[in-house]
C-alpha cells in the first residue's frame, strides 16, 4: 500500500523489538468477540488511477457552476479566486501543519491568523476578531449564546430577514427554548424587529444584506436594541458587500458574524466554509473560538501565540465559553491571501462590480412579463415573484442549462406565501450574456 512505509520484514523486526509474537498480541485488550470477527466486504486497496477514475465519474454527474449561466446565492456565492491563492494554500507548510500548539515552529500560521484577525476587524469595523469559526450559521448560534452570557438575559429575537438555515441552526442549538423568538419571513424587506425588543431581550439578530437581498438599517436596529439594554448581532452572508456598505461596527453593532466563503473559497457544495466573528474589546473574554495575539520571544523579537485560552475547553473544560476546539485555518488562510491580493482598491472595485452586475440583472428581470423584483435596495442579490410556482420553474430552467437561483420554498416549505419567490445573485462572474439567457428562458417559461 503506497502510503504505508513498512516492509513485512520491518514489521517482523519491530514486533521482535517489542517482544510480541504477532500484531494481534498488541490488541490483547480488545475483547476477543470484537476483534476482527467480521468481513467488512469493502473493496480492496486501489491504484491512484483507478481511484481517480471513480471520483471523476462521480464528479461528472454534477453540473458545475462554470457549465452555464449561474445565479445561485442565498448564503454561498460563486466568485473568482486568483490562481495564486489555491497554489499557496496547497503548500506543505500550510496544508499539513496543525494547530499552532508550539508557537516557536508555527509562526507562519500564527502571523497569518494575526493578519486575518486584523483584516476581519477592519472589514467589520469592530475592535477584535477571532481566528474564525466553522461557518456563518454556527457562528450565529455562538453569537446568540455569547450575548446571553454578556447580558445575563435570555430572550433572543431573530429577524425575518435572517437566512432560514441560520435560524434553524440557532433553533437546534437552543432546542425547545421558550425565549427564542423567530419572526416570520419578510421577503418584502419590511421592518419587523423593533417592536419585539424589551427589558428581557439579550440580543436581536439582523442580517444585511438580508436573505432576500434587502439592505437593513443597522443604525436604527442598534439604537432600538441599546435603548432597552439589548445587544445587536449583525449577520452578513455576503462579505463582499463590505466593500461598498458601511461597516456594522460604525453603526453600533455589538457582535458581527459573517460567512467568509466569498473571499478565497470555492462553493464546495456547502463546506468547508469559514465563520467570521468580531466584537467590542470589552466582550473579548466571552467570545468563543481561538485568538492569536502578539508578544515577544526571549530575545525581544516580535512573535505570535494563541492567547486568552482560559476561555477555552482544553483549559476550562465544562466552564468554557463554547465546546469549539478548532478554527477554519486553511479557509481563513485562503480568505486572508485573497484579501491581501485585493487590498482596499481591489476589494472596493470587486464590490462595485458585483453591485453593477446585480443592477443589470434587476433591470433585465423587471422587463420580463410575469416577473416582479421585490427589492428597492440590494447589494448583489434580490428576490423576484414569478407568476408560476418557483420550485418547478427553477427545475425547468435547470433542464435548459440555467441555474436561476434558489426557490424560497426550498428553505421555507411550510410557508405558502413564499411559493412563487426566487432569490437570485449576481457576482463579478455574471455576464451580460448570462443575464440575457436567463431572461429569455424565463420569458418563455412564463408566457
Amino acid at each position: 500500500m503506497r502510503y504505508l512505509p513498512h516492509s513485512q520484514a520491518e514489521r517482523a523486526e519491530m514486533l521482535g523489538v517489542i517482544g510480541a509474537a504477532n500484531i494481534d498480541a498488541l490488541f490483547s485488550a480488545v475483547p476477543a468477540k470484537a476483534l476482527k470477527n467480521f468481513d467488512l466486504g469493502l473493496p480492496a486497496h486501489s491504484p491512484e488511477f483507478l481511484v481517480e477514475a471513480h471520483m471523476r465519474a462521480l464528479a461528472g454527474k454534477n453540473r458545475a457552476g462554470a457549465d452555464g449561466p449561474f445565479f445561485v446565492g442565498a448564503g454561498a456565492y460563486r466568485h473568482h479566486v486568483p490562481a495564486s491563492v489555491d497554489h499557496l494554500i496547497q503548500r506543505s507548510e500550510w496544508l499539513t501543519a496543525y494547530t499552532p500548539y508550539q508557537p516557536e515552529i508555527s509562526q507562519g500560521t500564527l502571523q497569518m491568523l494575526f493578519e486575518f484577525q486584523t483584516q476581519v476587524a477592519k472589514l467589520t469595523g469592530m475592535d477584535v476578531a477571532n481566528a474564525s469559526l466553522y461557518d456563518g450559521s454556527t457562528g450565529t448560534a455562538e453569537a446568540v449564546l455569547m450575548a446571553r452570557r454578556l447580558t445575563r438575559r435570555n430572550k433572543i429575537v431573530l429577524s425575518g430577514g435572517l437566512h432560514p438555515h441560520y435560524r434553524d441552526v440557532v433553533r437546534a442549538y437552543l432546542k425547545d427554548d421558550a425565549d427564542l423568538e423567530c419572526l416570520s419571513a419578510s421577503p418584502e424587506g419590511q421592518g419587523d424587529i423593533l417592536d419585539h425588543i424589551d427589558e428581557t431581550t439579550a440580543a436581536i439578530v439582523v442580517q444585511t444584506p438580508d436573505f432576500y437581498g434587502h439592505l437593513r438599517n443597522i443604525k436604527t436596529a442598534a439604537d432600538a436594541a441599546h435603548a432597552k439594554g439589548a445587544l445587536l448581532i449583525v449577520v452578513i452572508t455576503e462579505v463582499v458587500s463590505l466593500g461598498l456598505l458601511e461597516a456594522p461596527g460604525a453603526l453600533g453593532a455589538d457582535i458581527v458574524v459573517a460567512e467568509g466563503q466569498s473571499i478565497g473559497n470555492a462553493l464546495n457544495f456547502g463546506g468547508p466554509y469559514l465563520g467570521l466573528m468580531a466584537t467590542r474589546k470589552e466582550f473579548i473574554r466571552q467570545m468563543p473560538g481561538r485568538l492569536c495575539g502578539e508578544t515577544v520571544d526571549a530575545e525581544g523579537q516580535r512573535g505570535f501565540v494563541l492567547t486568552l485560552s482560559t476561555r477555552e475547553q482544553h483549559i476550562r473544560r465544562e466552564k468554557a465559553t463554547s465546546n469549539i476546539c478548532t478554527n477554519s485555518g486553511l479557509c481563513a488562510l485562503a480568505f486572508s491571501i485573497h484579501m491581501a491580493l485585493l487590498g482596499e482598491a481591489g476589494f472596493t472595485r470587486l464590490a462595485r462590480l458585483n453591485h453593477a452586475n446585480a443592477c443589470k440583472l434587476a433591470d433585465a428581470l423587471e422587463a420580463v412579463a410575469g416577473v416582479t423584483v421585490l427589492n428597492k435596495t440590494f447589494f448583489n442579490e434580490m428576490t423576484i415573484r414569478t407568476s408560476q410556482p418557483a420550485a418547478s420553474l427553477v427545475e425547468r430552467l435547470a433542464k435548459r442549462g440555467i441555474l436561476a437561483g434558489v426557490p424560497v420554498s426550498r428553505l421555507e416549505p411550510t410557508d405558502p406565501s413564499v411559493a412563487n419567490l426566487i432569490v437570485l445573485a449576481a457576482t463579478e462572474l455574471t455576464t451580460d450574456a448570462d443575464i440575457a439567457a436567463l431572461c429569455a428562458a424565463l420569458a418563455e417559461e412564463l408566457a
Partner: protein, 515 residues
C-alpha cells in the same frame, strides 16, 4: 528592545522592508500591513461606476485601511511565512491525540474537480446527483467500519460532532419522557471538549476517576450510574493510548441504567478495520475525518466530524441527509418526525467528504486495517525502545496508537516536560502533546501514526534517548534555553494574555518629549 509610545514591541520589519536577519531561509517577515498599502492590488478588476440608487444610503463613508499586495509580493509574503511552520511534509509530527498522518495529494486533486468544488449547496438536486452519491458512498464506508445503523455527515469538526451526538441523545431522552436525566459521566482522562459539550447542552458533568492502570473501572461507572444519568462520554481507545478492556461491560451497564454511550472517536485510527465500535455497544461516535481519514489539518481546521449512530438514535439524526427514491437520490432537508433539526447551513464539509472517500478507496478495507495495525505497531515500537530511559505510567502492557510517558524520569533534573519538548524542536522534530491527558503528571503523549518509517522512528528514538540522558546528566541549560534553532526563541505567553494585542495598529508618531 525599542518601544513605541503604545508600549508595543517593535520587532524587526517595522521599517517596511523585509529584514532577513538570521538567514535568507528564515526571514523575519513583516506584517502585510507594514509592507502593503491601500493602493496596491494583486487583482485586476475594472473600475465600474455605480449609481447609488439601490444602496439605500448605506454606502461606506470611511476607508477600510486594508493593505494590498501585488501577486509577486503576495507570493513572497506567504511563502516566507510558510517556512516558519513545521509540517507533516517536512518532519515527524508526533502530536498525541491528533493523528498527524500523511496527507495524500490525490485527495487534494480530487477535491478540486469542478464537479465537486464548483457546485452550489442550493442548486437543484437533480444537478448534483454525483455529490449525493458520494455522500452515500462515504456513509456506507463509515457505517461498515463502525457497524452502525446510521451516520450524520454534517458536523463541521470533532467537537461539533460531539455536540450533535449529545443533542441526539438529549432528543431521544426527551422523546421517551426522560428529560430528568441531567448528568453526564466523563472520565478524567477525557478531552476537554467532552465536558464542555455536556455543559453546553445544560448537563452537569460528573468525572469518573481513572484506575491506576489508566483505564476506566466498570465498577466506578456502575457506582456513578443513576436514574438521573443521561450518558457516558468515553474515549476509546482512551487518551492514555489504551483500549478500554471493559468497554463492553461499561456499555451494558450504561444501557441497563437507561443511559446512552457516547464514544469520542478521536482515536479511531487505532482500530479502523480491526474493531467495529458498534460491536462494543456505542450509541453515537464522531469520527474526525481530518485525523483518521487524512483530510488535511490545515494549520487548525477545517476538519469534519461525522457521527455514526445506533438504531436507537438514528431517528434523531439532523437534516439534511441523503435518501434513495425512485428517481435517484434525494436530499432530505426538512424531515418530519423526531429529527433534531439542522446544525449547520447546507450539507456540511463536502470538500472533506471527497478527500476522505478518496483516501478510503486508495486503502481499501484491507489497507485501512493495515494502517491501523501499523499505527499501533509504531506506537508500541517507540514505547519499547524508550521504556528504559523514560517513565511509563501504566505498566508493561501493549499500548494502542500512542505511547504515553510521565515526567518522573526528569525528577531532580530541573527540566520540565515543556523544556524537554522545546529541546526536541532543536533536533528537528515537532514535540509530542504535552501535559495531556491530565491524569498523568507532566504527560508526554506520542502518536507516530502509520505514516512514519522504521528509519524515522529509529532516529526519533535515538534523539529522545540522547535528550533523556542529557537531562539526567544535569545539562539543564540545553533544555531551559531551548529552542535555539527555531524561527523564534521561547515566546512570552503570559505577556500575550495580560495585555492582549489582537490586531495590528498603525504605529503612532512618538510625541515630542516635554523639556
Amino acid at each position: 528592545m525599542s518601544m513605541n509610545n503604545q508600549g508595543r514591541p517593535t520587532g524587526t520589519g517595522t521599517s517596511g522592508f523585509a529584514s532577513t536577519s538570521g538567514s535568507a531561509l528564515l526571514p523575519n517577515e513583516p506584517l502585510l500591513f507594514e509592507t502593503g498599502d491601500t493602493e496596491h492590488s494583486g487583482v485586476d478588476l475594472p473600475d465600474v461606476t455605480i449609481s447609488s440608487g439601490r444602496l439605500g444610503g448605506f454606502e461606506r463613508k470611511m476607508p477600510l485601511d486594508l493593505a494590498g499586495l501585488t501577486e509577486p509580493e503576495a507570493m513572497r509574503h506567504y511563502v516566507r511565512l510558510s517556512r516558519l511552520n513545521h509540517s507533516i511534509d517536512s518532519g515527524m509530527y508526533p502530536l498525541g491525540s491528533c493523528t498527524m498522518k500523511h496527507n495524500p495529494r490525490l485527495n487534494e486533486k480530487m477535491a478540486r474537480l469542478p464537479g465537486f468544488s464548483d457546485i452550489h449547496p442550493l442548486q437543484p438536486v437533480s444537478t448534483v446527483q454525483g455529490a449525493l452519491e458520494l455522500m452515500n458512498e462515504l456513509s456506507h464506508w463509515l457505517m461498515t467500519l463502525t457497524n452502525t445503523a446510521a451516520v450524520a455527515l454534517t458536523p463541521k469538526a470533532g467537537a461539533h460532532g460531539e455536540l450533535l451526538g449529545m443533542m441526539a441523545i438529549k432528543a431521544a431522552q426527551a422523546a421517551a419522557g426522560q428529560d430528568h436525566r441531567k448528568i453526564v459521566l466523563v472520565p478524567e482522562s477525557a478531552h476537554g471538549t467532552n465536558p464542555a459539550t455536556a455543559a453546553f447542552l445544560g448537563y452537569s458533568v460528573r468525572p469518573i476517576p481513572a484506575r491506576a492502570d489508566g483505564t476506566v473501572d466498570v465498577q466506578a461507572v456502575k457506582d456513578a450510574l443513576s436514574p438521573d444519568v443521561a450518558a457516558i462520554m468515553l474515549t476509546n481507545p482512551n487518551t492514555c493510548g489504551l483500549f478500554e478492556p471493559q468497554v463492553i461491560e461499561i456499555a451494558e451497564a450504561v444501557h441497563a441504567a437507561g443511559a446512552f454511550f457516547y464514544c469520542d472517536g478521536a482515536n479511531f485510527n487505532a482500530i479502523m478495520g480491526v474493531v467495529r465500535p458498534g460491536d462494543l455497544g456505542i450509541d453515537a461516535m464522531h469520527i474526525n475525518l481530518h485525523k483518521t481519514f487524512s483530510t488535511p489539518h490545515g494549520g487548525g481546521g477545517p476538519g469534519a466530524g461525522p457521527v455514526v449512530l445506533s438504531a436507537a438514535l438514528a431517528p434523531f439524526a439532523p437534516v439534511p441527509f441523503v435518501r434513495k427514491h425512485a428517481g435517484g437520490l434525494e436530499l432530505v432537508e426538512h424531515a418530519e418526525g423526531e429529527v433534531l433539526g439542522r446544525i449547520t447551513a447546507f450539507q456540511g464539509q463536502m470538500g472533506m467528504y471527497v478527500r476522505a472517500l478518496t483516501y478510503m478507496l486508495s486503502h481499501g478495507g484491507d489497507g485501512l486495517a493495515q494502517a491501523a495495525q501499523d499505527a499501533v505497531l509504531n506506537a508500541n515500537y517507540i514505547k519499547a525502545r524508550l521504556a528504559h530511559a523514560f517513565s511509563v505510567p501504566f505498566g508493561d502492557y501493549p499500548t494502542m496508537h500512542e505511547a504515553l510517558f510521565d515526567d518522573s524520569f526528569l525528577a531532580g533534573t530541573g527540566v520540565t516536560t515543556l523544556d524537554f519538548a522545546k529541546a526536541l524542536i532543536d533536533e528537528g522534530f515537532h514535540p509530542m502533546t504535552m501535559y495531556f491527558p491530565l491524569v498523568v503528571h507532566g504527560a508526554m503523549l506520542i502518536e507516530p501514526t502509520e505514516s512514519e518509517s522504521k528509519q524515522t522512528l529509529d532516529r526519533f528514538c535515538e534523539v529522545m534517548e540522547e535528550l533523556a540522558a542529557d537531562a539526567k546528566a544535569g545539562n539543564s541549560e540545553r533544555f531551559t534555553s531551548a529552542p535555539l534553532k527555531a524561527p523564534r526563541r521561547r515566546l512570552d505567553e503570559t505577556r500575550a494574555a495580560r495585555s492582549p494585542i489582537l490586531k495590528w495598529e498603525r504605529p503612532q508618531e512618538l510625541p515630542q518629549a516635554a523639556e
